[in-house]
Symmetry: C2
Subunit: 129 residues, 2 copies
């Protein structure tokens, strides 16, 4: 897998970062590498997108976690949780584009940390709204 | 990235396969590698999941495509389409689990081809319903 760009965000500390976008995540820039200019050319303000990232600070050896919503619950397999610690730590973030400036796309409420590699961007389908 | 399993499906031909699950995709098995047994232990019938795959038959050099919905429209950057041909061909499939049999999980309406590597499974969040 090849990064297509990276996240620029005020979030730098995993322990302080919100776990989901609706928990107070700040706006952030998606900074595309110039070789992907054609692939991102139709991104525009107002669109809802799915941003796929590679959570490079994750622990890939983790197979089960105590659910964050209730730490007293028993350990749960990571494929039934959104834990960033998992065998292939792909982050999936739904976000709304608020501005485009050259190779930089600003999105509202992204919970990814500063410097996180971006691996794909997809439009939201009707069935996912 | 390390496959966590693979898809078993009657779909073997990319050109004949439906492009989205609601276009007549058949049921399929997610076959997990035994080392991920703990990670998939809480998957159960009735749950809605997001299956992330690696579309290993994709053309990773493609940056723009004619939209399938209207081939007369001009070429569109792949980050604004769901084309499988894209720099990092990660497939994102929403599916409902209909049965679990050991390391095998049966899902309804999956448009992935037989043998496609699975790289992650996540629960659907409330905001994605």
């Amino acid at each position: 897998m090849q990064p297509i760009g990276h996240v620029e965000s005020p979030l730098t500390d995993r322990s302080a970062a919100p776990k989901q976008a609706d928990e107070g995540a700040p706006d952030a820039w998606l900074v595309f590498a110039p070789e992907y200019a054609r692939a991102m050319a139709e991104l525009a303000a107002g669109q809802d997108v799915l941003v796929l990232t590679w959570l490079d600070r994750a622990d890939r050896s983790v197979l089960a976690v105590h659910p964050r919503s209730d730490p007293n619950r028993p350990e749960t397999g990571v494929f039934s949780t959104r834990s960033p610690d998992r065998p292939n730590p792909i982050g999936l973030h739904r976000a709304t584009i608020v501005a485009v400036d050259g190779f930089r796309v600003r999105v509202a409420h992204l919970e990814a940390l500063d410097g996180t590699p971006i691996v794909d961007v997809k439009p939201v389908l009707g069935t996912e709204r």
